[in-house]
């Protein structure tokens, strides 16, 4: 089937799903999956077959004829959207069923399809006006999904913040698209690399799409939205919606010329985003907030790669730029897969226990072995440990940066600190994720709710298994995705399409596969030996305590405490400690909370000041007609005085 037909089938299924899915969940699920498969088919033709689809209609929307395009860059992101969108649709069948959420389940299905449809439209729109419309609709449908459970105050607050931040970003995009259209003379989007005067527009692109992607100071909406949204929504927001921000940056940095400083700035912003994102993640006690901040970190890694690509371009098509850029692209997929997996697992935990507070969980592996194992898989992947997929993409980024360093060009001055920061970020990610998995799944249950948890059903487990399988496959055989990556980088920068660079993964070769099989072998061997030698179960020894209680366990807060302490200058934790006093101390307590520093110490004070000024100015607006006439008279007199003084306008 042709690409156009497949995409129309996909859009048609989603639209029908919106209309009919409210009443018939099974029908909706089938249609959504069909839409995802059709879109995947179209992407497959572009990415594997090298086709490209460009379609311009006769009819007009808003005075502009509809122009759609699916090239390799769009297809790369559309693939991710289809996989995660489809998997999450299956997941919500049990997770957000009519039985559990009679009020919002039908709304969820409708908005879900709107979200998929509008995100897909963003990816294929090749007209600035329509791009903006699709972008806005996508943002709004995201809002409605975040606030499905809107009776909760915190959810509504998160929704508002999301909407406000999203519109601040849209404002930049509005400026960008109108300026672009004014200078080019058309809303049509496409390659305009030979117009150097357009380069400064890149900063608008970076700010506008950066808000959606979650760059460091612009990430404020992300943690609360991801934590308070239903888990399948968190998964698609983290896994795909953030990537649409990345898509914007990739798309327009490929189509338009970029300023010389772009590479430096993007790498710098990326490295800082990565480091601070993971530092914030370390200090969280809310499982989903921790995952959300880890998304900020991963966006940082992706930006470092993109920055490497841009830097490579300004240094005259350096081959290392392509490596770093390909790494960023692969990380877009990888992060989409493992972060969705992690959010799904967090959703299962939430489903089973009703809490996201890690300090109330623990020992869940017993009740939820599948979820625990799948979360562990995601954790290994997100820490970029071999042999899973996170390593493959970070390895590419590293490779590009190292080549930049050894090339001994000026680029080395930014690539060197970026490498060190990436390594530190990686090590901190390990702290954060060992903490998360251990506090939630290992040890003894800390509360009764953790003791009475239950495993997720097959409809929730299936999508998680699929995503885990993708993580493992890409991790073991990254060689498979290299041809696709070269196609995308070739479309992004035509100069990179010609001379085929030999796959760097050929060197890595079967090393991950070898490690994986060795691991399996040795684990089985040790297990067998333990079984042969016999084992007995005893209480945890714990240095002689006869009655260890669950409360004596190390908590997540204390586990991350050492590393988080290094970031107190930005985390600014709020701490209230009541020490035990006297011979028979009654009670002691420690309250610790990590604020959203940027929001609470940066944006809210500024907002308060603006509000105060506005309140003061508002006194001028009181509804007394005679005063308004006085304003006009004073104004006119002022103007007259200016004219009399001989000031020329």
């Amino acid at each position: 089937m042709t690409i156009g037909l497949l995409l129309s089938v996909s859009a048609f299924c989603l639209l029908t799903g919106i209309l009919l899915g409210r009443r018939a969940p099974g029908f909706w699920l089938g249609l959504t999956l069909l839409a995802a498969l059709a879109a995947l088919g179209a992407c497959g033709q572009v990415l594997l077959g090298g086709a490209e689809w460009d379609w311009r209609s006769a009819f007009r929307v808003g005075g502009e004829s509809v122009h759609l395009r699916l090239d390799a860059v769009s297809a790369w992101f559309l693939t991710l959207l289809s996989v995660v969108g489809g998997a999450a649709a299956v997941y919500t069948r049990d997770y957000w069923s009519d039985h559990h959420y009679p009020r919002s389940a039908a709304r969820n299905r409708a908005w879900w399809n709107v979200l998929l449809l509008t995100m897909g439209s963003v990816l294929v729109c090749a007209n600035g006006l329509h791009f903006l419309i699709a972008w806005e609709l996508f943002a709004i449908s995201g809002y409605f999904l975040v606030t499905l459970e809107r009776q909760d105050r915190e959810v509504r607050a998160a929704g508002w913040l999301y909407l406000a931040a999203s519109h601040a970003g849209t404002l930049c995009l509005f400026a960008f698209f109108t300026l672009l259209a004014a200078r080019v003379g058309s809303w049509d989007l496409g390659p305009l690399r030979d117009r150097p005067e357009l380069a400064p527009l890149f900063w608008l692109v970076l700010a506008g799409f950066g808000v959606k992607a979650g760059l460091f100071p612009l990430h404020i909406w992300l943690p609360s939205a991801h934590a308070n949204a239903p888990s399948h929504v968190s998964a698609i927001l983290s896994g795909v919606a953030l990537k649409l921000g990345i898509y914007g940056i990739v798309r327009f940095s490929g189509w338009l010329p970029v300023p010389d400083a772009a590479g430096w700035v993007v790498i710098g912003v990326g490295a800082v985003t990565g480091l601070l994102g993971i530092a914030f993640s370390l200090a969280q006690n809310d499982l989903k907030r921790l995952l959300a901040y880890s998304s900020v970190e991963n966006i940082g890694i992706i930006l470092v790669g993109i920055g490497g690509g841009l830097l490579g371009l300004t240094h005259g098509d350096a081959a290392w730029g392509r490596l770093a850029f390909a790494g960023a692209l692969l990380h877009v997929w990888n992060h989409g897969f493992f972060k969705s997996l992690l959010f799904f697992s967090a959703g299962s935990v939430l489903h089973a226990t009703g809490t996201r507070d890690m300090s109330r969980l623990g020992g869940l592996w017993r009740a939820m072995p599948w979820t625990a194992a799948l979360f562990a898989t995601g954790a290994i992947a997100v820490c970029a440990l071999p042999p899973l997929n996170g390593f493959a993409s970070e390895w590419l980024v590293y490779l590009g940066l190292f080549d930049a360093v050894t090339s001994r060009t000026a680029a080395a001055a930014i690539a060197t600190p970026a490498i060190i920061l990436l390594a530190v970020t990686g090590a901190l990610a390990l702290v954060s994720f060992v903490k998360a998995s251990a506090t939630v799944f290992l040890g003894a249950p800390r509360t009764a709710i953790a003791r009475h948890a239950h495993e997720a059903g097959p409809w929730m487990r299936g999508p998680m298994l699929l995503l885990a399988a993708l993580c493992v496959t890409i991790g073991l055989a990254p060689v498979l995705v290299w041809p696709l990556l070269t196609r995308v980088t070739g479309v992004w920068h035509p100069g990179w399409s010609g001379a085929a660079v030999e796959s760097p993964f050929l060197g890595l070769g079967f090393a991950p596969l070898l490690i994986a099989s060795l691991i399996v072998g040795v684990v089985l061997l040790v297990r067998r030996t333990v079984r042969v030698r016999g084992s007995e179960r005893q209480l945890t020894w714990d240095c002689g305590y006869a009655l260890p209680t669950a409360r004596m366990q190390y908590t997540g807060g204390s586990f991350g405490g050492i590393a988080a302490g290094w970031f107190n200058w930005i985390l600014r934790p709020y701490r209230r400690l009541r020490r035990p006093r006297g011979f028979f101390p009654a009670e002691a307590s420690l309250i610790e909370r990590v604020p959203e520093t940027v929001l609470e110490h940066g944006i809210q004070p500024v907002g308060t000041i603006i509000l105060r000024i506005s309140t003061a100015v508002r006194r001028l607006q009181h509804g007394h007609l005679q005063y308004y006439i006085a304003y006009v008279v004073v104004g006119l007199l002022g103007l007259a005085a200016l004219v009399a003084a001989g000031v020329k306008p």
Partner: protein
Amino acid sequence: MIAALDVILRLAGWLLLAPLLPGIINRVKAWVAGRRGPPVLQLYYDLARLWRKGVVLSTLVSPGFIAGPAIAWVAVLGAALLLPLGPAGAALGFRGDVLLLIYLLALARFGTTWAALETGSAFEGMGAAREVSYAVLSEAAMIAAVLSLSVHTSSITLTTMLAPAAGAGALLLGAGLFAVLLAENCRVPFDDPNTHLELTMIHEAMVLDHSGPPFAVILHGAAMKLLLFALLLTEAVVPIGELGWLAATGVLAGGVLLVTIGVGLVESLLARLAFRRVPLLLVTAFLLCLFALLVAWRGGAS
């Protein structure tokens, strides 16, 4: 066929030689203290004994308690196979293999800390927390060291990076890597492998509840990690690539022996640091490696 034989020989070498190092360190410590000390082969006896023993498992632990140490052991072994042995080269070498080595060590850390946290014990939580947190700093030092070698040789393949050593910055790099070696292998002044049941431990605190074969795997993995770091240090400092086959092997063995004796001496002569000083020393190690990087940078510019 030759390749398979080569890998098997290497494997055997790593597996058999590694437990020698802790024995030598203990001998040095005994000698400085004027004791007779345990035999050099003590760890071999211990490993054999542990492998034959049964296991006591905490009632809380999942299968990950046994899988964790096994994963860590494989990861260290994998890293070891990536490390070139002087003129013999590496069993597996490719562009960017040095990053795989660093991340395999991180995987090992994931495995051991995961297993430690299985038991729900406060001590093991404490040890694991320290392990992963201080590793952040030692990883920064490692990557700076790798960068300096990489800048010096314009390569990111271990075989080429380690052949001519670090050049002018070798002394700085050696000092930095030695500190990392001490921190990563639970040695004084960062940690004391001999204390048990104290609040001041890192690695030993993590393995309090392990016994039998899994414990043997942990001990053997730790020994291999020590050998790995000792070899890495030697090769980063001594330009082995310029020596002949026999001389290179001799230098490698001598270097490892020297590092081991050095560890023993440090352990005998220094006291353990207070915990809040550990990050300071590790940051110093990082700075040393960073200066080595600057030296390498300057060296290439001329």
